[in-house]
Structure formats: C-alpha cells, structure tokens
Symmetry: C2
Subunit: 469 residues, 2 copies
C-alpha cells in the first residue's frame, strides 16, 4: 500500500491537522524520553473519539497496517515505540482526554483512555475521593497506557496494581470492533473475564479507549516514618510485624540500602540524611487512615517492640509536611540522582517477599564476581516484593564499557530471580526490551497460550507487533 493512499484514508477519518507526517512533527512520538528506543513511522494519527479509533483499526485491518498505540510516551520498555521493521502508524490517544463521569455514591470514575493519570487523580479529589495509582510520570502518562501496562507504583501494597483498580473497559479490537464492558459493577459473573485480558497486554490485543475505575475514600491522616534497620531480613520481619499489628492502614513500605542515601545526599540539592550516624539499610513506612485517631501511638508501639527485638536501629517520625516530603524525596529522586554516578544497569524484578534477603545477597555477590567494583543500589517496593535492583558502575570505569555489560549482568541477575520464583518484569512490562528474554524464563505452556491468544484476537498481527510475543 503506498503511503499517499494511507495518509489520505487516515485524513478522511480524523482530519488533516491530526495526521502528522513531517519528521519534526513526528519526532516526539518516535523517541522515548530516555533515548533507548527510536522508531520510524508512516504517520502519527490523533483520533478524537472511540469511533475514530475504530475506523482507523478497520482501515488498518483492511490494509494490513501495523498500528502502535501510544499514550503519554513514558513507557520504560519500548512498548510505545515503533521499530523500523514494518512501516507502522503510531496511534496517539492524547485527544481522547475527557473525564466522562464521576459517581461518588458508587465510588467510580469513567474516563477516556487518553486522560493523564494526574487529571484522573484531580477529578477524584474534586469529588472528595482518592484514585490511588501514583507514578513518577503521572503528569504525562495516560490512564490508557497505565491500563495497557498494568502500572504499579508506590501504593500497590494497599490498593493493588492498575489491574485491581479497573472495573470496566472500552476496547477497540484489531478489526475495529468496539468491546464495551464499561460497567460500574463490583460483582459480575456473566462469563469470561475479558477486561483482564487487555490489562497488561501492552496494546497488542486491543486499544483501551475508555475505562471505569474504582475510587476510594480520601485518607484523613498520614503518618510517615523513616527507619534505620540492620538488614533486608530485618525489613521482611518488620513488614510482617507492622502488617499484623497495623493491618490495612499500611500503605507504603520502601527499602533502601546505605548507598541510596549517600547518592541522593551527594547530588540532590537540600537532601540530607535523616540520621546523624550512617546505617546499613533503611525503610520508609507510611500509614494512612480515614480515621483521625491514635494511629501514631499504635505505630510507635509497634516500632518500639521492633527496636527491642533488634529489627529497627533508629526511627524518625515526620512531624511536618515538609519533613514528610523530604523523606519521600530521598526515595523518589533516587533514580534520577543515580545517573550522576555514571552508568547504571537496571532490573525491575520481583520475588516472593520471603525471598528478598536471599535475592539481594546472592545477586550482589554474583554481580561483584562478574564485575569487580560494581556498586549494587537495591531499592524498591518491598511490601509487594518488587525490587528495582540497579547497579552503578565501578567508580573508576568508563561509562560505556560498563553499559556494554548490560546483557551479561541481566542474565546473571535474572537467573537468580527465577531460581527464587521471581519475575524479570515486576511492573514495567515486556515491551521490546525484554521480549527476547521472556521464553527462557516463562512457563512454556504459558508462552504457547499467549501466542494462541494473540493469534485469536489479532490474527493479522497488526496491533503493536514486536511486543511480548
């Protein structure tokens, strides 16, 4: 199919201003922010409605055109970036940006797929409700992208992944049919669960154009405490204790090693160590509750017991909003500040919570054997078993020489993760980055079933070809 015909047909659907073909117009959609993936495309097309998305997919199905759905272009595994293999069109959802309805009594919000996560959060807040999904990229990522990648973030411990926050979906299928499961129901056992098939499918089975999401009461009280601890094993024990004694109110439990604090204090303006003395490990704990009450007394009691038992070495309670934000900044600026230490090789992995100490110990040792002088920088959402196991380059190495070892180090770390029953992609997805690595670590029947599903739902393979399977 020649390009001019394709462009003309797309223009007939969305109008000329919304079909981008000039290289400078297309550029922002063809490069992801970190610069790891670059693509080419016939055009960027920007529909304004579900009907227009459906018409584009009908066209793509007729002409056998590859289509790359794109939300905020913030994904970390290249799932939103076309490759050069097959002249694709990038379908940007950004103009589908309406909040359709907030139903405060049913605790739901219904939105277009292209609404930013921040806008969803704000609409919930305006109705005195909480939409708990929270990510570093929330200002630009879209809810459709969050759904397509089953995004995680910092509130998974209490509220679950994106999957757990979705009640219904509107999805445009590969052939342009529109699946409508936009119900607000908490209970609906009328046949197969279709929505979870699309959640986390990275745009390879359908395009999320709308969603009904769960809302929650807004917390009235937040307690944030920064703890120094002796070891990851102590962190796991402390997590079990706080869960048992405080229960549902525990919303954050983030682990950091000493080097994490050192890196942030060294590079981030205004950052400072919460303790006078250095400690080997830290956890950031946050509780939140609808009830304004004696939650801080309960937490102090729980931590008091943990100090007696040697699980906690020291603890500082945030006594002001500023101090709370400073504690969070230590955790949240880490990814960026790590870049100031030279090359960084990353692993977004998860293991059963009980296996975290062994994972950290074994992977650190194996990495040091592979690359003497390497600096392990493990941190993450220990409450849900997800460790962002990053490694900074040896101090005296050349950055590129270190980054050239990316694949070797991944292999070593992933093998340990798999041995402990873990996952090589806890929250970022497979995309184009990890597709080749997947078959070696996934149950073979699961791989076969994934291919069966892809063939059943997208027989021509036009939806985001090159991701996952």
């Amino acid at each position: 199919m020649d390009n001019a015909t394709v462009i003309e047909a797309l223009t007939a659907i969305v109008g000329a201003p919304y079909v981008l073909t000039a290289p400078e117009d297309m550029a922002p959609f063809l490069h992801e922010p970190r610069g790891l993936f670059h693509g080419t495309a016939r055009a960027i097309v920007k529909p304004a409605s579900t009907t227009e998305v459906a018409a584009i997919m009908q066209l793509a199905n007729d002409l056998n055109l590859a289509v790359i759905p794109q939300g905020g272009n913030t994904g970390l595994v290249g799932g939103q970036t076309p490759d050069a293999q097959r002249a694709a069109i990038v379908l940007s959802l950004q103009r589908l940006d309406r909040i359709r309805e907030v139903d405060a009594l049913t605790d739901t919000i219904t939105v277009d797929g292209g609404v930013t996560l921040l806008k969803v959060q704000e609409a919930a807040e305006a109705a005195d409700r909480l939409f708990p999904l929270s990510l570093a990229s929330e200002g630009s990522c879209t809810i459709g992208g969050n759904i397509a990648t089953n995004a995680g973030g910092t509130a998974v411990l209490a509220y679950g992944n994106t999957r757990d926050l979705v009640l219904g979906l509107e999805v445009v299928l590969a052939d342009g049919r529109i699946l409508n499961t936009l119900g607000k129901l908490r209970k609906d056992n009328t046949g197969y669960d279709l929505k979870n098939l699309f959640i986390g499918s990275e745009g390879s089975l359908g395009i999320v154009t709308g969603a009904v999401l769960k809302l929650f009461p807004r917390p009235r009280q937040r307690i944030t405490v920064f703890c120094a601890i002796p070891s990851p094993a102590a962190a796991v024990q402390l997590l079990a204790r706080v869960k048992s004694e405080i229960g549902f109110s525990l919303t954050t439990f983030e682990l950091m090693s000493r080097i994490c604090i050192e890196i942030v204090v060294r590079h981030a303006p205004g950052a400072r160590d919460p303790f006078a003395e250095p400690h080997p490990w830290y956890v950031l704990i946050e509780l939140s509750s609808q009830i304004e009450g004696d939650l801080d007394a309960k937490l102090e009691h729980s931590l008091g017991g943990a100090i007696e038992d040697g699980l906690v070495l020291d603890a500082v309670l945030a006594t002001s909003l500023d101090q709370r934000l400073a504690f969070w900044a230590l955790r949240e600026s880490l990814s960026e500040m790590q870049g100031r230490e030279g090359g960084s090789i990353k692993h977004d992995v998860s293991v059963p919570i009980a296996e975290i100490p062994a994972l950290i110990e074994e992977a650190s040792a194996a990495a040091a054997k592979l690359i003497p002088g390497i600096r392990p920088v493990p941190f993450g959402h220990i409450g849900d078993g997800n460790i962002h196991f990053n490694f900074s380059q040896p101090v005296d190495w050349d950055k590129q020489a270190f980054l050239d070892r990316w694949h070797d180090l991944n292999e070593v770390v992933h093998a340990i993760v798999i041995r402990h029953g873990g996952s090589i992609s806890a929250e970022h997805g497979i995309g184009r980055l990890k597709r080749a690595a997947l078959p070696a670590v996934k149950d073979p029947v699961a791989m076969e079933l994934m291919r069966t599903l892809k063939a059943a739902l997208d027989p021509s393979g036009i939806l985001n070809p090159g991701v996952i399977v």
Copy 2:
C-alpha cells in the same frame, strides 16, 4: 467410542476404585443439592493428582469425550451437573485435597484444587493468618470450584471476590497440557494475564488443579451493629458515610427489608427482632481491624451523625459474641427460612451502588403488577451492589403455580437490572441455568470474544459443554 473401552482407559489412569459406574455410586455426583438439575454420565472419575487429571484430559481429547469438572457439587446454576445431551464423564477433584505450603512471611498459601474452602481457612488460621473468602457452603465447596466460579460471599466489600485472592494457578487444559503459573508474586508484568481467563470460566476453558492464594493478617477486633433505617436510599447514603469516616475497616454492609426479619423470626428457632418496634429496613454493619483501639467510639460517632441526619432510626451494638452471632443468623438463615413461606423465585443480581434504591423500587412495583400479592424479599451485599432479589409467593397461592412464573418474573426483573447498568449474575455464575438468557443482556462483541476464546482454548468443545457459551 464404546463405554467399556472408555472405562478401561480411565481405570488404567486412576485405578479401578476411582472409576464409578454403578448408578448408586454415581448418583451423588449427578444431582445438585437443591434438585434443580439432574444429569447422566458414563462414569465418575476421581484422579488423585494433577498428572492424572492431565492424562484424563489427553484421553478425553483423543476420544472427543465431554468432561464435566466437579468440586464440592454446591454450585447454584447447574455448572457442575452434566446434561443428558452428550455422554460425559464427571471429573471429581475431591481427591486433590492437599495443602501444599503455607508461607507466612510472603502471606501465601498453595493448595490443591480439591481442598475444601473450610480447610483452606483453617490452614490459614493455624499460621495466624486470615483467608477471607467465606460462603454458606464453605464446609463442602472446594477452592477449585470457588476459583472456577469466582465465588463472592460476605467479605467482598473488604477483600474482593475470589479473583482478587488468587496469585497463581495450575490449570489442566482441554488437551491435557498443564499450565503452571503457581507464583507467589504480587507484581508480575511478564505478558498476558492468563489466570483471570480461567477464574470464573466455570470449568469450560481448563481445570483448576492448584492455586496460590493471598493471606491476610487476622483481625484482632470486630464490631457488629444492627441498624434500623428508613429506606434503601438511606442505606446507600449511610454506606458512603461509613466508608468515608471509617474506611478500610468496614468489612460487611448487608441490607434487609422488614419482611426478611419477619420471616426469620417466624421460622428460625430462637431468632428475635433486635428492636422493640418494627422498622421498614435494616443494615447489618461489621468493622474489623488489626488494631485494638477506639474503633467502636468512631463507629458510634459516625452513627450518631447518621441518626441526626435521619439516615438511621435506631441501632444496637453487639456486646457479646452470642449477640454478634444472633445478628448474623438473622441474615444467614434467611435463604433457608424463606422456603417455609412457600415458593420463592430468586435473582442474584448486581447494579451500581447508587442505583440500588431505584432497582428495589422499580422491580418491586413491576413484580406486583405481574403477580398481585407477590412478596418482595430483597436482601444482600449492598456494599458491593449485589442484591439477592428474591420474591415469595402470594400467601394464598399454590406453590407450583407461582414457580411456573419463574421465567416471566426473571424477564421483568432482569430488564430493570440491565436498564440500571447491572448484571443478571452477580456471584453465582451462568452455568446451565442462565446460558440462554445471556446473549440478550451481554455486549454482543463480548459474546463474540467469549466464543473466540472458547474456540481457541477448547477447539473440540469437550470441557463442560453447555455452560456460559
């Protein structure tokens, strides 16, 4: 295929004692407890392991034999009962009854598919953990059946449906392949979500032989209160208020109309009205928390405000375990006691929570128009929008004459449910009971996709033919 060859092949897999063919041996597996569904079968086969289940499915695939998986035989929609159309074998999972592992640090339990729900609850309790799924049939239903039907129950408001409690599955597919996703991970974004495809598929896409389930801290404090309220609208407002003021601790919010209390008090030995005066509507509220604290004071404060605003007419707090059980008995014996009032036509429906008052009003009026003198007996899990909208016969009618109107009344009620964005099966499933009614109320593309999935995963249609699609 002649019967003798089939029986011989099954016997070679599981051993002679575990292939039942005598009518008296097969009978308990061919009739469901309420007597609404009856079936016939070539044999009942009772494998002892996943490997044996896989061998049976390979055989069934080779011989094109229909297989009806069965757990505790407690389903309410005939999903576990073969029909007479196609000589099937019933595959009972009851011998797969091992607790495989409890991991208290990771908060998981790994079990065989044929373990009873009660045994799972008890194993969790022995490790000082809670497995929150709770149903009337928990002593005999199996966890594999709970998973296959995405069972609901009384704790959905706080803990979700069965779907929300499953981390990983082991499933035998139609051709005997074994899918293993038995991970303990809270976060795993490595491709399509396969487990949710099988959860709620009523044994028509695969057979659940094992599962990893989430465990929770055991509550240390429970508060139970019985409230008299003026209307369903007040119940919805009260629910929103208590959720906002008490939040996560709210675990039960059950609605009952006046006639529910009258029926139970009339027929259940020892049951009594918690109030001296009759009231039009009631809610049973339960809070639970890990924290032993001032939850009762918070609830009293919240209810005090609700009384001032006219949302609550009167309230009694359970001050002893006996009183708590007496409150629960009013709710839980209702289904049984309703049988003493003659014929009962049932609807297991859900609507968005805000629509509950309109549903009750409109469906009661429409039913009275269809059958003058009919007695609406609405009750249910209002906290998740699920109303068991039962109707007792007019006092002076013949029971069978009333039951003959089952289909007519269903049609009227379901039409109102659908108009309010609801579901005709909130928690019991589709099975054989509601299969014919499904296409008229389900999104047509959803129906097409369900058929596509069935064809992709069970191309010969041997797995529980006759349920759902």
